[in-house]
């Protein structure tokens, strides 16, 4: 790779990560459209835009930088409460994300289209002009917060805004103080943050003026709690945190106290550099505050003086909540949490109040019924789609594959792997020592002790190598949710275009699969979902007429089942018309009328996977690309996966994709046929039997075996592969099976089992039937790995044809 292309690849990889994170947050925001926007999400998107701006600037990607800059500005306005997050803003952000994806695609290909550049310009202009400004209320609730002025002085504008919002919403505020040792304070702080995160919002982290001891450093975290005091304490047990509630005066007292407050800091600030002087009541001002450094020069004495105000020494008082009337905007559904650390809440809560709302940007937002959602979004999420919302971006159907070949690996995993290598080196050293002593002293080599030691080291080596292998494989695993999330966005668009109403349900996104498999899944899944939306699901009116709910449910679920993962794509639509399938199959010559009579329902449905099969009456622009289910099946076959379909007229359809968890290492049976060697994945081998030629019978011109009273279809691999057949006195029959099918494959020899690393056959070799990959057996012997699913099918088809 040239240095330039290497740099570009790095840029694309990093930018992709940023965009993925941005997309996730945006999707989450979109799901809660109309509700209050989670500040964490908005902040997350803001940071993503900021990072993207910096990254693309660094790599000279001007269009991306420009758009990122515009996005960052918009989000800054949002998160500072100077802009409302409404539907228009959300839609704009979604379009921006699409534009970023397209830009990144062009960057990766090294092209620059005029159309896209024009689009970027238009978007940047639109972003700048978006949004209705928020009305700034007269009374600043922050005035009522009893927080030392110097502390307030070091807040950034954002933090102040967050604090203001928390106070406005009546969220209980705490000062969490913790001291750590200088040597590992970052770990300690990170842990503390991790503990706090599910319990509420960390608004600000400040170095505490109170020293943390000679070798220590202390922090004050201003925290808005979603749990009561007891809950907070429980959540922080084990950490060195000290809690003290921050008092908020009721609105009525605000004015008097503001005056009182104004007087104090003047005295206190004598020595300090808070030349920002007496802090006037802050409005939603425009400038950022000075750096935190302003806090540190405070003389300790000053701090001592103001502390008691914060209620540290005095017994904590219950938070007084201003009467609802004093609030600038009434929020009937706001729930309140009192903050007496020892007593339970004494305040009256509005009846039926749900747990505390998330702090929001929307004023007057009524709904706040989500639970503690600071945790990662639950696996099941509903994407509601209405008709006719914002115009979709280009309808071009691009693949959902990543633009990069990189995988994010948890650094802990990597460390673990490095450790293992260290241990391997130790074993190597031991072996070397043994070898050396054997070389020097011949007699030792024959001693039993020596043999034992050698065996022990070798066993240890084997174990460690296995563990290393596993560890490395795990590093390739990514959650299948990666591709599910991308699909969710696509579903919105397709649904709108198709004029249907759909609820898209996702489950099991955290099931992990090899990255390669996940990537390869994106297209087949997209295809299946498209089919479901275009053809499976009826129009809302038709559904109503059929007595179904107007909104159809399309679901995508993943589940781990031992060595395999099953992914289900299902819909509650019209189902597959089996009669029509039969009709088409006969018309297209796929089966004869006679065969059709014999076929069971399941077999009939499976005909849809035959090449050239399509029952779509109108091949709409959306799905009529000539890509049939046979391609889906093929693609899956390349991953050693199989697809199965279940359907019922009027009720719906479900596709089940069964995939191995990992492609890379499998246990295989090595077999010999006509002097060649092949590998058969053991996970599809049910048993191996030895049969005499006379045990093979021919029934209606098919060869079969009688296996424990059951008739087993039988094929000779040599014949299938057009290899010269050798006469043998006995056949080894490898009985393979997948789902319900069984087939016996006759080979000449068995060469034992082995763990092999399978490599898929790329590009030009895809069309080789019956082979799913190849492996290196050492000694430069490359052996082909049989595609059991394909062979099964071929065997079955052979039967059908002969029948």
């Amino acid at each position: 790779m040239t240095p330039r292309s290497k740099a570009l690849a790095e840029f694309v990889a990093e930018a992709t990560e940023i965009l993925d994170a941005l997309a996730r947050d945006l999707l989450a925001l979109d799901e809660r459209r109309g509700q209050e926007a989670d500040p964490e999400l908005v902040n997350g998107i803001f940071r993503a835009a900021h990072s993207l701006k910096g990254l693309s600037g660094l790599f000279g990607q001007e269009r991306i930088a420009r758009l990122a800059h515009g996005t960052e500005d918009l989000l800054d306005r949002l998160r500072l409460g100077r802009l409302l997050m409404d539907g228009a803003v959300l839609d704009a952000l979604i379009e921006v994300l699409d534009a970023f994806q397209a830009l990144l695609g062009e960057a990766a290909r090294g092209t620059e289209s005029e159309g896209l550049s024009a689009r970027v310009e238009a978007m940047a202009a639109r972003l700048a002009s978006l949004g209705a400004p928020v009305e700034v209320p007269e009374d600043d609730p922050l005035e009522r917060l009893e927080l030392d002025a110097q502390v307030r002085a070091v807040f950034t504008e954002y933090e102040e805004h967050r604090l203001r919002e928390n106070v406005r919403r009546g969220v209980a505020l705490w000062r969490v103080r913790a001291a750590f040792d200088l040597s590992d304070f970052d770990k300690g702080l990170a842990e503390l943050n991790a503990r706090l995160k599910p319990l509420g919002e960390v608004i600000s982290t400040l170095p505490s003026a109170q020293p943390g001891g000679a070798h220590g450093i202390a922090f004050d975290l201003i925290f808005g709690a979603q749990v009561d005091g007891a809950g907070l304490e429980a959540g922080l047990s084990g950490t060195p945190a000290e809690l003290s509630p921050l008092r908020v005066r009721p609105a009525v007292e605000a004015v008097t106290h503001a005056l009182v407050r104004a007087a104090e800091p003047v005295a206190a600030a004598r020595d300090s550099e808070a030349a920002e002087g007496s802090p006037p009541p802050k409005r939603g001002g425009g400038r950022k505050k000075g750096p935190r450094a302003a806090a540190t020069p405070l003389a300790p004495g000053v701090q001592q003086q103001s502390l008691p105000h914060l209620g540290e020494a005095a017994p904590p008082e219950p938070l007084e909540w201003p009467a609802p009337g004093a609030e600038p905007a009434a929020k009937p559904s706001d729930s309140l949490h009192a903050l007496a650390p020892t007593t339970a809440t004494e305040l009256e809560l509005p009846p039926g109040a749900a747990p505390a709302p998330m702090v929001a940007y929307l004023q007057g937002a009524a709904k706040a019924s989500r639970g503690l959602s600071v945790a990662p979004p639950p696996p099941s999420s509903a994407v509601g789609t209405g008709a006719g919302s914002a115009p979709s971006a280009s309808a071009a159907d691009t693949s959902l594959r990543s633009l990069t070949q990189t995988v994010r690996v948890d650094i802990g995993r990597l460390d673990g792997l490095i450790n293992m290598v260290g241990e391997l080196l130790l074993i190597k050293a031991n072996l070397q020592r043994l070898a050396e002593s054997a070389r020097q002293d011949g007699a030792v080599a024959l001693s039993k002790l020596f043999g034992q030691e050698l065996a022990r080291e070798t066993r240890g080596l084997e174990r460690k190598l296995e563990a290393l292998q596993e560890g490395l494989l795990e590093a390739r695993m990514v959650p299948v949710g990666q591709v599910f999330d991308k699909l969710a966005r696509l579903v919105r668009r397709i649904t709108r275009e198709a004029g249907k109403e759909i609820e898209f349900v996702i489950g099991g996104g955290d099931v992990e699969l090899d990255k390669l498999i996940v990537e390869e899944l994106s297209d087949p899944l997209m295809h299946l979902i498209r089919n479901a939306i275009d053809h499976g699901v009826e129009s809302p009116d038709a559904r109503l007429a059929a007595g179904k709910p107007r909104r159809a449910v399309v679901s995508l679920r993943a589940e781990q089942k031992g060595n395999h993962v099953v992914i289900e794509v299902s819909d509650d639509g019209a189902g597959i018309d089996e009669a029509r399938v039969r009709e088409v199959a006969i018309t297209r010559g796929l089966i004869t009328f006679a065969q059709a009579q014999e076929m069971g329902r399941r077999e009939l449905l499976n005909l849809i996977f035959q090449p050239g099969f399509s029952t779509a009456r109108s091949i709409s622009e959306l799905s009529g690309r000539g890509v049939g289910l046979d391609v889906v099946k093929n693609n899956l076959g390349n991953l050693s996966g199989i697809i199965d379909v279940w359907s019922e007229r009027g009720r719906g359809t479900a596709f089940h994709l069964t995939l191995p968890v990992t492609l890379a290492i499998i246990r295989a049976l090595l077999v010999g046929v006509s002097g060649r060697t092949y590998a058969v994945p053991l996970n599809s081998v049910l048993e191996i039997v030895s049969v005499q030629p006379r045990d093979i019978r021919t029934v209606e011109r098919r060869e079969v075996l009688d296996l424990r009273g059951q008739t087993l279809p039988f094929v000779r691999l040599a014949r299938m592969f057009a290899l010269p057949e050798r006469p043998v006195s006995r056949h080894f029959v490898v009985v393979v099976g997948l789902a319900q099918e069984r087939l016996g494959i006759a080979v000449d020899e068995l060469h034992g089992q082995q763990d092999i690393v399978t490599k898929p056959l790329g590009g030009r070799l895809q069309s080789i039937r019956g082979i799913s990959g190849a492996t290196d057996l050492g000694n430069r012997r490359t052996v082909l790995v049989l595609d059991v699913a394909a062979l099964l099918e071929e065997g079955m088809a052979l039967e059908r044809r002969r029948a």
């Binding site: 057009a722 790329g762 080789i768 039937r769 082979i771 430069r780 490359t782 052996v783």
Partner: protein
């Protein structure tokens, strides 16, 4: 009809066509190409197939490898000789002699009955649209630089393959190279 054929021949361009009577007319306009600054020589990799000398643009050749043990692929198209393992990468290896009408059948080089490859045989690993692919050649001659002025269309009577794999001839001193188009040669 042969008169027509003659006339038609005259219509089509050949660098060595008969221009009797016109030389003076177009004097001063002949191959001053050597002086033209735009003449950039291109590098080609020259190799042998059945004694004949062929060449491919070097930028399409990723590497040249000795012939490793090839794995036979069952039921593959005849020109797919087998699979090679190049430092862990699996690549298909093709025969192009049949397409160039240099042989009737592809050689048997994989499988248990295959003979050892000749010492001089090599595999050229080419970059193609469908991915990297190996081509079996009898021997590699080397890299040769050809200037545009050295290139010509194939002369009449040239035995060209059925798919236009031969795109021209390169003449450099006494040597003549048959220029191939890799994509066409490997198209299935």
């Amino acid at each position: 009809m042969s008169r027509f054929t003659e006339l038609l021949d005259d219509f089509f361009y050949r660098p060595d066509e008969d221009v009797a009577g016109l030389q003076d007319f177009a004097a001063g306009s002949d191959g001053v190409r050597a002086a033209a600054p735009e003449e950039i020589p291109e590098e080609y990799l020259a190799f042998q197939l059945e004694g004949e000398c062929y060449a491919l643009p070097i930028r399409g050749v990723r590497e040249i490898s000795k012939v490793p043990p090839l794995t036979e692929i069952p039921r593959a198209e005849p020109q797919l000789l087998g699979l090679m393992n190049l430092r862990g990468e699996l690549l298909p290896v093709y025969d192009i002699k049949v397409r160039l009408r240099l042989a009737e059948r592809p050689p048997m080089v994989a499988g248990p009955d295959a003979p050892a490859p000749p010492r001089s045989a090599r595999i050229l690993v080419l970059r193609t649209e469908a991915g990297p692919a190996g081509v079996w050649v009898d021997g590699v001659v080397g890299v040769v630089k050809l200037k545009p002025s050295m290139l010509e269309s194939p002369p009449p009577g040239m035995r060209v393959g059925d798919r236009d794999c031969v795109v021209g001839m390169g003449r450099r001193g006494p040597s003549l190279y048959i220029l191939l188009d890799a994509e066409q040669a490997l198209a299935s």
